[in-house]
Amino acid sequence: MSSYTPKVEGTHVYDTQMSRQGRALNKMLYSLKNPENRELFIADESAYCDKHGLSAEQKLAVLDRDWKKMTEIGGSIFYVIKLAAIDKKSMQDLGGVFTGMSTEQFKAELKAGGRNFG
């Protein structure tokens, strides 16, 4: 995170610096909005990552479906969920991962009014 970006406890403030860091990753994920690219990706994930110039760290996070890692190394959440969609995972599934809960626990907390940090 850049020194110009406000620091907010426990929250990602996605900024230009993270976006620069995640450039290749986000570009690859963005390409998945195209159905032919989704097929190419599914057919050979590793080759697809290489073709898009992902770093070793980015590629590993993708292949391992390490959702938390992806968002920490510059993946924008709106790009990361393109990969989740391929795996038929919902935003609640990812919410569970990010918070160390099961999907059901995470959903239950939301249904109870959401998580309160006030």
């Binding site: 159905p35 709106f78 939301l110 249904k111 309160n116």
Partner: protein, 293 residues
């Protein structure tokens, strides 16, 4: 001259669209939200605009991160529904209003708003879900033309809330100076509080949301003074989308009346709300009209 007849503030979370598309609106989880929409929908159905200006943000479906405009406006005659990763949503494509787009663009640039012009744009849930909130069953075509206006809310630095309100005021002047007798509705979309990633994922702040829902009518200036850091801290990384409501609010002007609102938790990972305002002609405009007669 064109007239702004109403403004709608509404969440645009994809799951609201999915609930409609998959006929889950009567399910226990979703029924309260859609019941809450009903009175607004009935009122809007009686007050059909010719054009809707929809203020929203793209979610990695049309704009890549290589080029991030603070404010942009579509100037095309048609916009297709985007494929967001599992095929396009089965709703009608969008008919634009290129002439009104260009009028707004020129007037905003003349007033010192540094717009980006989008001659091509696929529209995602940020635009189509609010249209579905307005018209759940459009059939083959949406009931109005649409001018999309996009805001960068994904990457810091977002525009300040204050700049959004100022843009809205200029947008209102631009619309009202359009020399066609058409009715225009303005949609401010996004929000309410939500945080998708990180350890605070699932954050909902009802107090912040309810204050915002009230003040968007009575005291938008106070909301325009909230810093970006406060929006993120209070309403979550994605809750900052609420700044887009201020653009709608600025366009409506001083003389508005709340028709209906509703608030619901959760819609997917977010608090969801709707607030509908009728724009009445200002005293000044009525005087102008009287003088003109």
């Amino acid at each position: 001259m064109a007239e702004i007849t109403w403004g709608l503030a509404t969440s645009h979370v994809p799951s609201i669209g999915a609930a409609m598309d998959n006929e889950k609106t009567e399910d226990e989880l979703w029924k309260p939200l859609f019941d809450g929409y009903q009175p607004a929908r009935e009122w809007m159905a009686e007050q059909k605009p010719d054009v809707a200006i929809v203020i929203y943000n793209d979610h990695a479906n049309a704009l890549g991160l290589e080029m991030i405009p603070t404010f942009s406006i579509g100037t095309a005659e048609h916009y297709d529904v985007a494929d967001e990763g599992y095929g396009p949503r089965q709703v009608p494509n969008i008919v634009g209003d290129a002439e009104l787009s260009e009028h707004i663009l020129v007037n905003l640039v003349d007033e010192g708003f540094d717009m980006t012009v989008l001659q091509e744009l696929d529209v995602d849930h940020g635009l189509t879900v609010p249209l579905s909130v307005y018209t759940p069953n459009p059939g083959d075509a949406w009931p109005c033309r649409v001018v999309p206006m996009l805001v960068n809310v994904l990457q810091y630095p977002q525009p300040t809330a204050d700049r959004c309100l100022a843009l809205g005021e200029a947008l209102g002047r631009a619309i009202r100076s359009f020399p066609q007798d058409i009715k225009v509705a303005v949609f401010g979309t996004g929000g309410m509080s939500h945080q998708l990633s990180g350890e605070r994922a699932g954050l909902i702040n009802q107090e912040f949301d309810r204050n915002f829902l009230e003040k968007i009518e009575t005291d938008p200036e106070s909301l325009s003074q909230i810093t970006r850091a406060e929006y993120v801290e209070q309403a979550g990384s994605e809750g900052i989308e609420m700044i887009m409501w201020l653009i709608m609010r600025g366009a409506l002007g001083d003389n508005i009346r709340r028709v209906h609102d509703t608030y619901h938790v959760p819609a997917s990972n977010t608090a969801a709300a709707l607030a509908l305002f009728a724009a009445e002609k200002s005293a000044e405009e009525n005087t102008d009209a009287a003088i003109a007669q």
